[in-house]
């Protein structure tokens, strides 16, 4: 048996693959006009690199080399297939002609634009939200279908089918490979931000399963958030607000779950475990976004998270500010969940009785009657008011509504601790 010797060039090719493959892919999609053709060309280009670079040395601009190798391999493949499909001849000729004429299409600016095009195409509102998430993780982040399936606890075949359908729609419905025009940018950016936040939330608060968090996905979402800010032609406060929100939530990850996998509430968390670096970055981003006066719901949520992060102890929390921020947020997005959070903040500021009145009127409106956190919040307020029987009834109601193991265990613990 021969030993697997990794030469320095191979190590470098691997590193270049990790840092460049998604950029090269984004540009190949533009040049070849098709996701599948670009994927194939990308693999061909790296196969050629593995063959040639150890012999000829690594080119001065590996990115441009890979794009150009991928493009010509794709044109060659098209010519070979043209024997069976005459329409490919014309396409191959057109691609070859444009390869000869356009000189500046491979400069760094053009490649930056391609990455932005890729993000906006994967998050096009004409695709379903599930397809947007799967396609973004696959094409922008470079996760494999199996990795995506594992993180979302779905079958790889389901994810594969979602991606195939999305690519078919892109092709047949003519979804353009373009960043949106200025007038469409706010709406389109909103979709992108929601996709990123969906990915983050799936990693931060897994919707089902044994574990409370899946760090890989949160890390991926934060990377995406950073990439988006870097690529956007002008600063967008809500993109900064979203990155801030993710960083501030992420900063509490280790403190949020005990060593035995139990939920630790914000007020009980060991604040020395909070990641100071992430908090500092998050707080700076929030201030920047707030100063722009063009902020939206992500920035407001980040500002709330920042207020928590800046309190050295739970007692020092500025509940007045938090209640105020939830008030503004409720005006921007009308959501009963925001109202619930506002009620909890008011309970902290003005006492549990004030909060309970608000939570009860929210529950009466009906929209939150199946939301376990509304009942858990009510239970908690009753407990603090010494209304044990009511607290018990609400904890039990919450328990029937949750699907997550650590949440169940937390509620059961609270129930056991109630005085009988």
């Amino acid at each position: 048996m021969t030993e697997d010797v990794t030469t320095p060039v191979q190590t470098q090719v691997d590193a270049i693959y990790r840092s460049e493959s998604r950029r090269v892919f984004a540009t190949l999609v533009r040049l070849l006009g098709d996701f599948d053709r670009a994927e194939e060309a990308l693999h061909e280009a790296f196969a050629l690199a593995v063959e040639q670079w150890p012999r000829d040395g690594i080119p001065a601009n590996p990115r441009a080399w890979l794009v150009s190798a991928g493009r010509f391999r794709a044109i060659d493949a098209m010519r070979r297939r043209a024997r069976f499909d005459a329409s490919l001849t014309a396409l191959a000729e057109r691609l070859e002609a444009s390869a000869r004429t356009a000189a500046n299409e491979l400069d760094d600016d053009a490649i930056q634009d391609d990455r932005l095009r890729l993000i906006f195409t994967c998050c096009h509102p004409a695709l379903s939200p599930e397809a947007q998430v799967a396609l973004t993780l696959r094409e922008v982040c470079g996760l494999t279908t199996e990795e995506i399936a594992r993180t979302f606890l779905t079958a790889p075949s389901t994810v594969a089918q979602r991606i195939v359908r999305a690519k078919t729609k892109i092709k047949n419905a003519g979804i353009p490979y373009e960043a949106p025009s200025r007038s469409d940018l706010p709406e389109r950016l909103d979709t992108v931000l929601h996709v990123i936040y969906l990915v983050f939330n799936e990693g931060y608060s897994a919707s089902s399963g044994e574990w409370l968090t899946r760090p890989d996905l949160s890390g991926e979402a934060i990377r995406l958030g950073r990439l988006l800010i870097e690529l956007l032609p002008e600063p967008e406060p809500e993109a900064e607000g979203l990155l801030a929100l993710m960083l501030l939530q992420e900063s509490r990850r280790t403190a949020r779950v005990s060593s035995t996998g139990e939920i630790v509430l914000l007020e009980d968390q060991d604040r020395s475990l909070w990641n100071r670096e992430q908090i500092a970055e998050g707080v700076a981003l929030v201030s920047q976004a707030l100063a722009s006066r063009r902020f939206g719901p992500f920035t407001l949520q980040a500002a709330i998270a920042a207020t928590h992060a800046e309190a050295a102890t739970p007692e020092q929390t500025d509940w007045g500010q938090i209640a105020g921020l939830y008030g503004v947020l409720a005006q921007v997005v009308s959501s009963p969940v925001v109202e619930l959070n506002r009620a909890v903040a008011i309970a902290m500021r003005d006492g549990p009785a004030a909060g309970l009145a608000l939570v009860d009127s929210l529950l009466q409106q009906g929209e939150l009657s199946e939301y376990y956190l509304a009942h858990a919040a009510r239970a908690d307020l009753c407990r603090r008011l010494g209304k044990s029987a009511e607290a018990r009834a609400s904890y039990e109601r919450a328990l029937r509504l949750t699907r997550q193991e650590p949440e169940r265990r937390f509620l059961e613990r609270r129930l056991r601790d109630l005085p009988t």
């Binding site: 004409a126 047949n172 419905a173 003519g174 979804i175 469409d184």
Partner: protein
């Protein structure tokens, strides 16, 4: 690419004045599209009460009264347009007066060879 823009609305939700205004605005839009080389054709349809459905089953022609499906909103008209891509087609769809009351479904047209020009 060609796109079919299908306008679905509740046909009883329109007053005569609204309907006439819609025809007027739509006609204006067809001229705008024509000036930009995007117009292929457009028409409103008579109400679904006038619809007849035809199907062939086991070689026999069956003709029935009524639309293909009874729905709350009905196909009330269409625009057939020429557009570079879906974003352009969506832009046109958003200008159709019917979109303000109903829904415009955007469908790319599948081009097949051999049709008369």
């Amino acid at each position: 690419m060609k796109y079919m823009l299908l306008i679905y609305t509740d046909e009883h939700a329109w007053t005569d004045a609204e309907r006439n205004q819609c025809y007027e605005d739509s006609t204006k839009l067809t001229h705008e599209l024509n000036a930009q080389g995007q117009y292929v054709s457009a028409n409103p349809l008579h109400p679904v009460a006038t619809a007849t459905s035809v199907r062939i089953r086991e070689g026999r022609r069956m003709v029935t009264d009524g639309p293909f499906a009874e729905t709350r909103e009905q196909l009330g008209g269409y625009f057939l347009i020429e557009a570079q891509n879906l974003d352009e087609a969506i832009e046109v769809a958003a200008k159709i007066p019917g979109a303000r009351k109903g829904t415009v479904e955007v469908r790319p047209v599948l081009e097949i060879p051999g049709l008369p020009q």
